[in-house]
Amino acid sequence: MRAAFAAVLAVALAIALAFLLLPVAAIFLRVPPGDLLDALGHDVARDALVVSLKTSAIAHASVLLVGTPAAYLLARRRFRGRGLVLTLIELPLVLPPAVAGIALFAAFGRAGLLGDELDALGVQIPFTQAAVVLAVAFVESPFYFRGAIAAFESVDAGLIDAARTLGASPARVFARVALPLAAGGLGAASALALARGLGEFGATIIFAGSLQGVTQTLPLAIYAQFEQDFDTALAISALFIVVGALLLVALKLYGWLRFGSIFRSLFAPSTSS
């Protein structure tokens, strides 16, 4: 009975692993490493890579810059309507990306909510690189928010109190205590958000279009090449998997290093007098 149950668990794990890894393996089996590099010489792939890196970098930096202090406020303060704010911030998580694209249009489009104001400033957003940045930031920010709030909440409130009695201003408490102690969680949230942003498709194609060299990011390029040149689509996909795997490994490595330092201190020779 016991052995049978153990076997069921093992089989379930084997099926899950096979299902998740087979498609990934299929890409690499179809694309030899040499072809992969050739494909990257392809204009479409190179342009898409540049657009993706540029827009993701700007979007991600903005999310970190605004999201970190906002998450700190939400983690530390208890106020009326806090629950509502937390829910609203997570709304993009449950929105289908296509809906996000339409929503961005409704806000920043020519005929949108801020259309007249933007027009008066001579700014046009849809179908520009700015639109890609907005779409990516909109979709990835809840991932960062969730993780960052949890990271700040896990910082011992007693340490914050201690810092304040030592004369530290709120800004210094944030910089010297909260930020370094939440760094691990913030890093994890940042990596997750970055990965989500790089893969953004639905909101971008609706709000920014798919113009090679301007708004065509890597996922959009894959979609475009899928019909015309399947091999290039495969090569870009393979590139994506490599970038994703590197992000994941970096994340695990960081976690391991942190865990490792705790481990070392546990087994450090005792210095007690």
């Binding site: 011992d156 007693g158 340490l159 109190d161 201690a162 810092a163 304040r164 009695t165 030592l166 004369g167 530290a168 201003s169 010297r176 205590v177 370094p180 102690l181 705790i262 201190s265 546990l266 450090a268 005792s270 210095t271 007690s272 007098s273």
Partner: protein, 342 residues
């Protein structure tokens, strides 16, 4: 050294804590059961909690005054706070912990004999070392008031004694207004010049440890101080003595005067034990069964059915005390203090 003056009302879960206290260049310990609001008092003084009303002042400096809507931020008050479990910054070295609020570390580290740990991280330290780092950090900004929240709670029982002696000497040397909070009367009595017993939102009694032991104001203070508190009915017995018929059976004699229901306070260390009732000057001999024997370092705590005695381990071994046996507990009439029912 400007005194710390506290007069506040703090809303707690079950009741409000009312406290009026002036702390000069001395150590005052607040003792009480957990949940009595002791930590809230320290947090109020530090500015980490806001009392419902009252005033907190250090000399002429008003830190809190509800009537005048004054409430200085923690960073604008001058307190050194040693937190329960010490709250050392885990990501900073000992030296950087101490200099977090400014100031220099070397002198303090040397004074507290932890200069060799300057580069160590808090997780690598023993409990006693952590306590000294927390003290050094609290003192680095030369505070005008020192607050200690359960400073002995995170220590191993076997290092407790020596750490307590060192802390006692340091507090004497500093001569800062120091407010210490603990649930342990022994720690309070060992560290503080004056001890205040807090329970049910009130300061029940405030005085030198000796006075609290000698004339506890009520049963709760006596129990916190470690005494046996026995209930009974008192009646004059001639010869200036009072006889108290205990609810548990035996009658005992006290040199204090009382009539009607009363409480008898007997300290365990005033009770001696013998196999047979000795023919001595003690008036009170209670034949009783041993419930348990607990060693406490060089002493043994012997719990009988009616009261608890504390004898040296040597005596306990000589008498071969073990649970279930019958023994005679003796104490003088002068060692049975009667509490007037208020």
């Amino acid at each position: 050294m400007a005194p710390l003056r506290i007069d506040l009302s703090l809303p707690l879960r079950a009741f409000d804590l009312e406290l009026e206290l002036e702390v000069g260049p001395e150590t005052v310990a607040l003792v009480g059961p957990s949940g009595a609001g002791k930590t809230s008092v320290l947090r109020s003084v530090a500015g980490l909690a806001r009392p419902a009303r009252g005033t907190i002042a250090c000399g002429e400096d008003l830190w809190f005054d509800s009537a005048r809507r004054i409430d200085r931020r923690p960073e604008q008050r001058s307190v050194g706070f040693v937190f329960q479990e010490y709250a050392l910054f885990p990501h900073l070295s000992v030296e950087h912990n101490v200099t977090f609020g400014g100031g220099r570390a070397e002198g303090l580290l040397r004074r507290l004999r932890i200069e060799h740990l300057a580069r160590a991280k808090p997780t690598e330290l023993s409990g006693g070392e952590r306590q000294r780092v927390a003290l050094a950090r609290a003192l680095a900004r030369e505070p005008r008031v020192l607050l200690l929240d359960e400073p002995m709670a995170a220590l191993d029982p076997h290092t407790r004694g020596s750490v307590r002696a060192e802390l006692h000497d340091l507090l004497r040397e500093l001569a800062l207004p120091t407010l210490l909070v603990t649930h342990d009367f022994e720690d309070a009595a060992a560290l503080a010049d004056r001890v205040g017993v807090v329970a049910d939102g009130r300061l029940r009694q405030l005085g030198a440890p000796v006075d609290l032991l000698g004339s506890p104001a009520d049963p709760l203070v006596a129990r916190l101080a470690g005494a046996n508190v026995l209930s009974g009915v008192a009646a004059p017995a001639g010869g200036g003595l009072t006889a108290v018929a205990l609810d548990d059976g035996p009658t005992i004699y006290s040199a204090d005067a009382a009539r009607g229901r009363t409480e008898v306070v007997v300290y365990p260390w005033d009770v001696s034990l013998a196999r047979e009732a000795p023919d001595d000057s003690a008036l009170n001999h209670i034949r009783d069964e041993i419930a348990s024997v607990t060693p406490l370092g060089n002493r043994a705590r012997v719990r009988l059915r009616t009261l608890t005695a504390e004898v040296t381990t040597t005596s306990a071994e000589r008498l071969k005390l073990s649970p279930g046996e019958t023994i005679v507990a003796s104490f003088k009439a002068t060692q049975a203090r009667l509490l007037a029912r208020g």
